[in-house]
């Protein structure tokens, strides 16, 4: 009878909150629940704010940005588009890049012909897929009125939602294959 299962763990397991411990447990638990609820509410509010800063959209397009002078006041925002051909410039050994974005064509690589363009600058390493014609480029930063360029803090690359194998030979979907890949 050394290891009696009734003596050891039982009192702890039985201190069921429904019984005599209810009062103290109630306030204790209620405090914890209130803290938990408050933390979650704050977290959700912050996330919604972070997802839509001052704007109800995650990003604006290049033409929306160009057409709306209210966005040129130096506020932080995201602008999405595609790299305009032959606009990328970077000195050898420098990390300062300058390039222009135009509106991205839907489901087709490259910019919409005749769309307005926005000049941008960026200091740093470019993402792998920056030069891929399928990529949509999202710039985080603000408009620098003095320089007349969009000063980019972060570059994000949005990729197509359609997946294609390398082996798939579908010339319609690979216009990038016709022109030599831009390499800088």
């Amino acid at each position: 009878m050394q290891t009696d299962p009734y003596t050891g763990p039982v009192p702890a397991a039985v201190s069921s909150p429904e019984e005599e411990t209810e009062r103290s447990a109630w306030s204790n638990h209620r405090t914890r629940l209130l803290i938990l609820g408050g933390v979650i509410a704050l977290a959700v509010a912050y996330m919604v704010y972070a997802a839509f800063p001052g704007n109800t959209l995650y990003f604006v397009t290049v033409s929306e940005f160009v057409d709306d002078p209210k966005l040129h006041d130096g506020q932080t925002l995201r602008v999405a588009g595609a790299l305009a051909p032959d606009t990328f410039r970077r000195e050898d050994g420098s990390t300062l890049s300058r390039f222009s974005l135009g509106d991205k064509q839907i489901d087709v690589p490259g910019i919409t012909p005749g769309s307005p363009q926005m000049e941008a600058s960026y200091v740093g390493v470019l993402p792998d897929l920056f030069f891929n014609p399928h990529s949509e480029i999202i710039l985080e930063g603000h408009y620098d009125g003095r320089e007349g360029v969009f000063a980019t803090d972060n570059i994000l690359v949005k990729c197509p939602s359609k997946y294609q194998s390398i082996q798939a030979e579908n010339p319609d979907l690979m216009p990038g294959a016709a022109a030599p890949a831009q390499s800088y």
């Binding site: 009878m1 009696d4 299962p5 009734y6 003596t7 039982v10 009192p11 897929l129 014609p133």
Partner: protein
């Protein structure tokens, strides 16, 4: 045509994390269920022996 980047370390990291987490979760549950079932068996045995005459009373704490 542009050559796609390979990024193999990221790929392997993702699969390693997923398989490790599932394995640990399943192993933990299985281990815990076995230990709970052992407890249950001990309790049943204790109840049976407690119900035998002359052996019961000193087992009860309440």
């Amino acid at each position: 045509m542009t050559v796609p980047p390979s990024n193999l370390p990221y790929l392997f990291a993702a699969f390693a994390v997923v398989w490790a987490v599932f394995f640990i979760y399943a192993a933990y549950m299985s281990w815990r269920r076995q230990s709970v079932q052992r407890d249950l068996q001990d309790l049943h045995e204790a109840i049976e022996s407690a119900e035998e005459p002359g052996d019961g009373d000193e087992n009860r704490t309440l």
